[in-house]
Structures are given as structure tokens and as C-alpha cells.
């Protein structure tokens, strides 16, 4: 008889095993009307001054919107009494409103538009926090909302694609219209004054700023309109990928000549002789090298010679411009003697971001933009990312689309859960504690107070961390858990399940050269272990020596 093997996908170290905390949308009853009130409150973004001032000063602005939508009177005392008071008033006033079909989808649309923009933009870090925040507020009002946990499952499936898609957004928003009009005008002027300075003492300008602030786009716009008789050429450290030869070849191709050999000094000489200069008596060039954070991949000595070659020829003025998220000494400590002038591009403020998004898509309601940016700016300041999320949310909202998506729920097999909890206990418990926990009392600790204090002192002295445990020990703990829960799982090889967990990255099999006694270390965190044991109806805290 062929044994059935579990087929599990790699989930980057996470297993979503918790059952849904909230049920599906109810069809009748008082709860539905309460949800209608919450949905109606979500549509009102607040127009009077009192609401705006409250929204600016209080972190409970979502509750303010709920209260304003219902027309409830309330006083801001503190968070707990505010929530309680608002909940009570909603309970008493809920019968005054009639259910309207088109309004029932507003709250659902808001949540599902966030979910949809998440799937498209792979920005689970930001959007998931909004879901948690909204749910935590609505939970205190005893409202029933969508099954938010199913959204989280899709987040983790999209996790691996996040980094691949981030680069595609670069420059979309800021390059679609003039950056000069929106950014600080004096900053543009100062940058232009610095880049096109006639003096040769300014040899290296480093432009730094956070990703998403339009750092490289601003430099490109300044260099695309050269002054007087300057020549501007563009290179990329990330494209050349650690090869100075490839970098010089790309620069030479842009300038219209071919390199013979890869020496930096020859490059400057070829630059002097072969380039078609606007003014033969006054030769000036700006070399813009983007993605300077990749400079750590280049060999230090040749790169240092290249960046110092601005004074190789007396009649030639060479100026290097680099662009990176952090300052220049962060990436190349050997070049600390270079007189690099740092220029900082600030992250756009909330007002600037609102103006950018309004110009990019004028069909979006300004109140919608205002509300969304106030909520999202805590987690993400990139205008491109915010524009993607807000435009998707507005499209779903304006069409009143009713979307009830139930994504597939990933679930490990029952044996995998038990084995993972057994491996966690084996990795984090000393061997001496096994008999006390798993043989005699099954989690009930009968140590005296003096022994407990001594164990606490020993715990503080040791270094925290999982330790490798033998396979037989894990199997014994696993069998104990099965007997404890009166569960009978059979018909497969436990070692295959452990191999699957190892391929998923949840455990680490060590000591591979000695196949007789393999050692296994559990890599999941305490929170994950608690969630898995909760789904198994096991009290994990009772079986841990150091239940921190």
C-alpha cells in the first residue's frame, strides 16, 4: 500500500492555521443593521470643521467618523469609555434606521478594495495594518465584519512577488507631470546651482533621500536640460553589477565612442579626445551614476581611481553625481577622504502627496484622497505606492462593486501541526524537563517556590534561542501529544513529514553527515507556535520551561 505524502507549499516560514475569528456576514437581525450604520459612517469623510479638528487631534478618528455618520453625541474622555459609550449608543439607536441595499456593500467594498489593491501591488505590510486596525475598532463595537483572515492568507502568497514588482513603479507618478512645480522650488534651484557650477573644486555631488522621494527623477530632470556647454551622461551602478568594465562601456556607448580596454585612465583620455564637445575650448561633463548603494560590489581600488580621475586632465572639468538612499560614507568607507557634497531630497509631505495624486487622477474625490492619505501615511510615504492603492480603492468604491472573495485557505496537515509543536517543545526545553512535562503531570508544574526561583535565575543566565534536539526525542513528544488529545493519526512515515517541514524552512535538520542521529532545530517563533497549538486545542504554555 502506497503511503500518502503531504504536499505542502513553501510559505516563507508561516503557517496560517488559525480559524476565522469572525463569521461571515449575517443576513438578518440587529447585527446587520449595526453593520449598515458602520458602512454609512465609512462613506462620510467629514466636512465640517469640528470633525476635521477632531480627526487631526485624535488617533480614534475612525470612531469619530462612525459617530458622525450616526449623528451621535459623545464626549472624548478616554479611549475605553469612548468606545463603550459609542457602542452603547449604537445599540440603542440602531432600530431607527432602515436597511438600504446599496449601502450594505460600502464597508465590504472598502475592505475588498484594499484587498484588491494589495494583491495587485503586493504591499501587504501597509494594507494589512489597516485591516487589523479597522477590525480592532469594529470588534470593540461588537460588530461583525468580513473574514479578514482570508485576506491575510493571500498576503503571504503574494509575499515572494513583492520585491520583483517594486521596481516597476519607479518614476511612474513623479515623471508623469512636471516635478519642478510640485517639489520645493528652492531645492531644485540649489541642485542646479551645484551641478552646473563652473568651478572644478566641486568634483562629486551625492544626492540622497528615501526611496519614493523622487531622488533620481529630480536629478534626471535637471540633467536633461543642460546649461551652457555641459554634456551629461547617465550610468547605473546596479546595471553594471560590480563590473567597472561594463560601467565604463555603458558610459562610452552613451557618449558615442568605443572603449579599448577597461582602464579608468584611458576612459578619461578617450573622453577628452573622442567626444563631440559643444565648446572645444571649454570641455565640461557631468557623469550621473544611479543606484550608488551597489557600490559595495565593486573592487575598491579601481573604483577609487575612477572617482578620483576628475583631475586627470587640466582642461577637462569632470563632475560625478551619485544617487543613493543613504549618505555616501554609508556605502564606501574607503572614499571618506573625497570631498563629497551631500544633497538631500526630502520625502514629500502629506499636502504634497495629496496634490500629486489629485493631479495624476483628477476624477478621485478630494475627500477620499484626504481620508486615505491620513490613514496610510503612517506606514508608507511613497507617492507611487499611495497612488496605486488609492486609485484602485476609488475605482472599486465609485462603481459600488460587491465583491465577496473567499480565497483558498492554506492549512497544514494535522500531523505536521503536532510535529511542529513537538519540535518547538524539544528545541526550547531542557532534556531534564521532559519527564516532568510529558510523563507525570502533563503540564502541571509541582515544583516548589525555591526551585522555581533558581530556575528563573538559570534562565536569565542562559542565552535564549532554540537548540538542536534529537529525532527520537521529538517523536516521543509527538506521540505523547497524540495520546493526550486522544488523536489517532497513522498510515504515513513521520520522517517524510519532517522532511517537508525542513523544505518549508520551519525546521532545520542539522548533523546531516551522521544519518544515525539527526538533530532538528525548530525555527518558528513563539507567536506562531501559540497559534498552532491553539488550533490543536493544546495549552502550549504549560509545556514550556521558559514561557516568555
Amino acid at each position: 500500500m502506497e503511503r500518502s505524502k503531504p504536499e505542502l507549499e513553501r510559505r516563507d516560514g508561516f503557517i496560517e492555521t488559525s480559524s476565522a475569528f469572525f463569521g461571515s456576514i449575517p443576513s438578518t437581525g440587529k447585527t446587520l443593521r449595526a453593520m449598515i450604520m458602520a458602512a454609512m459612517a465609512m462613506c462620510d469623510f467629514g466636512t465640517d470643521d469640528m470633525t476635521a479638528s477632531r480627526r487631526a487631534s485624535s488617533p480614534m478618528h475612525l470612531l469619530m467618523l462612525l459617530g458622525d455618520g450616526l449623528g451621535l453625541e459623545h464626549a472624548i474622555q478616554d479611549e475605553n469609555s469612548e468606545v463603550k459609550s459609542l457602542g452603547e449608543k449604537m445599540e440603542t439607536n440602531v432600530n431607527l434606521y432602515e436597511p438600504v441595499d446599496e449601502n450594505t456593500t460600502h464597508l465590504a467594498c472598502w475592505l475588498t478594495t484594499i484587498h484588491k489593491s494589495l494583491l495587485e501591488n503586493k504591499l501587504f505590510l501597509v494594507v494589512d495594518e489597516i485591516l487589523v486596525y479597522i477590525r480592532s475598532q469594529l470588534k470593540q463595537l461588537r460588530l461583525i465584519v468580513l473574514n479578514v483572515d482570508s485576506l491575510r492568507l493571500d498576503l503571504q502568497r503574494s509575499f515572494t512577488g513583492t520585491m520583483l514588482n517594486v521596481g516597476g513603479w519607479f518614476g511612474d507618478l513623479l515623471a508623469s507631470f512636471g516635478v519642478d512645480r510640485e517639489m520645493n522650488e528652492s531645492d531644485i534651484k540649489r541642485l542646479r546651482m551645484l551641478l552646473y557650477n563652473n568651478s572644478r573644486s566641486i568634483s562629486h555631488v551625492h544626492v540622497f533621500g528615501e526611496d519614493g522621494s523622487g531622488r533620481s527623477e529630480i536629478v534626471r530632470q535637471v540633467l536633461n536640460n543642460p546649461e551652457h556647454d555641459w554634456i551629461c551622461v547617465f550610468g547605473d551602478f546596479l546595471y553594471a553589477d560590480g563590473s567597472l568594465k561594463l560601467l565604463l562601456e555603458s558610459l562610452a556607448t552613451s557618449l558615442g565612442f568605443k572603449t579599448r580596454g577597461d582602464k579608468a585612465e584611458r576612459f578619461i583620455n578617450n573622453l577628452y579626445e573622442n567626444v563631440d564637445w559643444p565648446d572645444e575650448n571649454n570641455k565640461k561633463i557631468i557623469i550621473f551614476l544611479d543606484n550608488a548603494q551597489s557600490i559595495v560590489d565593486y573592487p575598491p581600488a579601481p573604483l577609487q581611481c575612477f572617482l578620483e580621475s576628475y583631475k586627470a586632465i587640466n582642461d577637462l572639468t569632470v563632475r560625478f553625481v551619485t544617487s543613493a538612499p543613504s549618505c555616501f560614507t554609508q556605502y564606501h568607507i574607503n572614499l571618506i577622504h573625497l570631498s563629497v557634497i551631500g544633497f538631500h531630497i526630502a520625502t514629500p509631505s502629506q499636502e504634497t502627496t495629496k496634490c500629486l495624486i489629485s493631479k495624476a487622477d483628477s476624477s478621485i474625490d478630494p475627500k477620499f484622497i484626504n481620508f486615505a492619505i491620513q490613514t496610510l501615511f503612517m506606514y508608507c510615504k511613497s507617492p507611487n505606492t499611495l497612488f496605486s492603492i488609492i486609485s484602485d480603492a476609488w475605482e472599486m468604491y465609485s462603481k459600488r462593486v460587491r465583491v465577496h472573495e473567499n480565497g483558498p485557505k492554506f492549512d497544514a496537515t494535522l500531523a505536521s501541526k503536532y510535529l511542529l509543536i513537538a519540535a518547538f517543545c524539544a528545541s526550547n526545553n531542557p532534556q531534564q524537563a521532559d519527564s516532568r512535562y510529558f510523563v507525570k503531570n502533563h503540564g502541571k508544574d509541582k515544583r516548589s517556590e525555591k526551585k522555581e526561583l533558581r530556575a528563573e535565575e538559570n534562565r536569565l543566565a542562559k542565552e535564549l534561542g532554540p537548540k538542536p534536539a534529537e529525532l527520537q526525542r521529538i517523536i516521543c513528544i509527538y506521540e505523547t501529544f497524540l495520546k493526550l488529545n486522544e488523536t489517532d493519526i497513522s498510515g504515513f512515515d513521520i520522517k517524510n513529514v519532517i522532511a517537508s517541514l525542513d523544505s518549508m524552512g520551519l525546521v532545520s535538520v542539522m548533523n546531516r553527515n551522521n544519518l544515525d542521529t539527526p538533530k532538528i532545530k525548530c525555527l518558528i517563533s513563539l507567536e506562531t507556535a501559540h497559534r498552532i497549538s491553539g488550533s490543536l486545542n493544546l495549552e502550549l504554555r504549560n509545556y514550556l520551561e521558559h514561557a516568555t
Binding site: M193, S199, S213, C305, A346
Partner: protein
């Protein structure tokens, strides 16, 4: 108040001063006299010799040498020793140098030649200097240059050397800045001179003088002349208040306490700033394990402190998993605000060590400038 003639005069003189700024060298008259004597003796006697030019980087060794060679109308041939150090085949190309009589060479960055194979180039040049009647200048910046030489090079090293020690005081510093802005060609124009003197740069340059070299002063002068010569276009720009404000902005970038990391901290999102402040608070309370060891904490402790901040003080910052805090910590390490243990022994992210990367006092001064919510400030007040 400036009229049209004044503005036109200032613009023209600023453009003229910017054009000749590169050739201005001040404060090195003694070194210039020594080099002048060496070159004069060489041209008179035609005997090959070598000379050391010793000093810090960007202190004007090459500028002075170029200035002296311009006076004698002789070409200075520059060889970058960095290329010799980076490229082993460079010496073979140099061996083909012909004897065209009485050449003057400058070996730039000679202290980069460290290995015995590379130092062959040094005494090859010394031998050729004697044989071909060359004058060779070795430009070095490290003080231990002689100690790193091999035995063959030590015996051949020239005894003649010119030191470029910068021992200027504040008055010389200010007078140099004034000479950069008002060169001799522009001294006759009274309106331009009066305008430059009215800026009162002496008070502004006091912090720049403490740590900066003359190259910073020259860069600052270049930016000021660019501002006056090309970028003051309308009447509003010529207002005295606006002019002084722009000058202050340019000078402020040269201050020694102008910290780029505090600027980057202000750029972060609220969650990143909260994670950073949790690290800072943990390290404030933690004693150092040794006199020379910086206090460190682990990713997991930062997550626990962040959860306490989110649960007790500011609910919107709450996260449901530690991966969010760990990703923010990784981002802060990438930006250079924090430092993390990059050892390959760390198999679990929770126990990775992390510590601050810049001064604790700068963090304290930066916290009031962050626009944090009031309750987070309450959380921080418990330690400040």
C-alpha cells in the same frame, strides 16, 4: 537697496571671480618658494633629482606645483600611482617613455604603492631621474610613507622634501574667503567690494573653520559666486533678507555638526521612527557589557518593546506579527541608522543583535524635530 547698475556690476564681477577661482591658491607661499627654488636649480644645472611633497589630501600640493610650472612655461607630466597600484601592466607602458630631455614628472599618490612589486616603480623612476636628467616629484599623503618602503627604495628615497602643514588661523581663513570672492581683478569695482563686505561672512564662517579645509572653503565660494552671478534673476532675489537667507543655507551645509543621518530619520514613516525609538530606549536602559563594547539588543526585545508602545500608548501602531518590526529594522540597517550583526551564525532573526549607529546626543536633539503623536512623546518622556 541695489539699483540696476549695482546688480549688473555684481553679476559681472561674480562671474569673473568664478572663472578664475580654480587658479587661486593661498596660504602656501613658503612651499611655493621652496618648489620654485628646486625647479630653478634643476633648470639651471640640468641634474636629475627627486623631491617629496608631503601633506594631507586636498591641501594644494598639485595646484602649487602647477602654478610654479606655469611660471617657467614647462609641461608637468602627471602619473597617477593609483593606476599603477590597481593595474600591474601599467609599468610596462611607462617603460616606453622616451628621453625627451629635462622632463618634470609628478607621481600622484605615491604612498599607494605598498607591495614589493609595486614599489619597483618607485626606484625605477628614481634611477631614470638620475640617468635621464628628470625632475620627479612624489606626492604622498601618509606620514608613515618611509616606514613602508622596501630596502631598495629606502636607499634611493630623496632627502629633499616639502611639507604642506596647514596651520592657518581664523583671520587667515576669513581673509582667504574674502580673496576667493574678491580677486585682484575685481578689487577696483567699489560696488562689488561693498556688496561682498556687507554679507559679514566672518560670523558665519566660525563653525566652518573648526574642521574644514580650504577645499571646503573653495567649494563654498564657488556656490556663492554661482548664486550671485547666475541665479539672482528678479528683484525679489536681490533683497537683503533673501540674500542673507540663501547664504545661510549654503554655509549651513558645511557645518561639522550637519548630520545626514538625523535628516534620514525625519524622512522615515511613523512606524519606522517608532521602531528606531524603541531601539534607542532599550539601549538607554541597558548597561554596556564592557568598557569598549557598545550596548546591544536583539530583534526580539525590540519587538516586545514595540508591542508595549503600541498596546499602551498608541494603538494604530499595533502589529499582529513580529515580521513587520523585523522588516523595519532591516530597512533602518540598510539606511545606516542602525547596525546589525551580520554574522552567518545567526540562524534566527529574533536573536540577531542590533545597536545604534550614530551619536546618542544627536538622537536626543532630533526627537523634538520629529512630528510624533502626543502619546508617543509621553512614552519617550519616561526616559528623557
Amino acid at each position: 537697496m541695489l539699483n540696476e547698475a549695482d546688480k549688473k556690476s555684481i553679476k559681472e564681477n561674480a562671474q569673473k571671480a568664478l572663472d578664475i577661482l580654480d587658479d587661486q591658491v593661498f596660504g602656501l607661499s613658503e612651499q611655493e618658494r621652496q618648489i620654485h627654488n628646486i625647479v630653478y636649480d634643476f633648470l639651471q644645472s640640468k641634474d636629475g633629482k627627486c623631491c617629496l611633497l608631503e601633506g594631507e589630501r586636498n591641501c594644494g600640493r598639485e595646484s602649487i606645483l602647477q602654478k610654479v610650472m606655469n611660471k617657467f612655461r614647462k609641461e608637468l607630466r602627471v602619473i597617477n600611482a593609483g593606476f599603477v597600484a590597481a593595474d600591474p601592466n601599467y609599468q610596462q607602458e611607462l617603460a616606453r617613455e622616451g628621453d625627451d630631455g629635462y622632463s618634470v614628472f609628478l607621481i600622484r599618490d605615491a604612498d599607494k604603492l605598498i607591495t614589493p612589486q609595486q614599489q619597483k616603480f618607485l626606484y625605477t623612476m628614481v634611477d631614470k631621474a638620475t640617468h635621464y636628467s628628470w625632475l620627479v616629484f612624489f606626492s604622498i599623503s601618509r606620514q608613515d610613507f618611509a616606514q613602508n618602503l622596501q630596502k631598495q627604495a629606502t636607499s634611493r628615497i630623496p632627502k629633499v622634501q616639502v611639507s604642506f602643514d596647514m596651520t592657518h588661523d581664523f583671520d587667515e581663513f576669513c581673509s582667504t574667503m574674502q580673496k576667493f570672492l574678491i580677486p585682484t581683478e575685481c578689487e577696483r569695482d567699489e560696488r562689488y567690494t561693498k556688496f561682498i563686505l556687507s554679507l559679514k561672512l566672518e560670523k558665519k564662517l566660525k563653525p566652518v573653520f573648526q574642521t574644514s579645509q580650504y577645499v571646503t572653503l573653495k567649494q563654498l565660494a564657488a556656490q556663492l559666486l554661482m548664486l550671485f552671478g547666475y541665479y539672482c534673476e528678479n528683484n525679489e532675489d536681490w533683497n537683503t533678507t533673501v540674500i542673507n537667507k540663501k547664504v545661510d543655507e549654503l554655509v549651513e551645509k558645511c557645518f561639522p555638526y550637519h548630520n545626514e543621518k538625523s535628516i534620514l530619520l525625519k524622512d522615515q514613516t511613523l512606524r519606522s521612527q517608532s521602531v528606531f525609538l524603541c531601539v534607542w530606549k532599550l539601549l538607554q536602559d541597558k548597561e554596556s557589557e564592557g568598557l569598549l563594547l557598545v550596548p546591544k539588543t536583539s530583534y526580539r526585545n525590540v519587538f516586545l518593546a514595540y508591542k508595549k508602545l503600541a498596546n499602551n500608548y498608541y494603538k494604530p501602531l499595533d502589529v499582529r506579527s513580529d515580521i513587520y518590526v523585523y522588516r523595519e529594522l532591516d530597512h533602518l540597517v540598510t539606511m545606516g541608522l542602525l547596525k546589525a550583526d551580520e554574522s552567518t551564525n545567526v540562524t534566527n532573526t529574533s536573536f540577531r543583535k542590533i545597536w545604534l549607529h550614530f551619536n546618542n546626543k544627536i538622537v536626543q536633539e532630533t526627537i523634538p524635530q520629529l512630528s510624533l503623536p502626543e502619546r508617543i512623546n509621553v512614552f519617550l518622556d519616561t526616559v528623557l
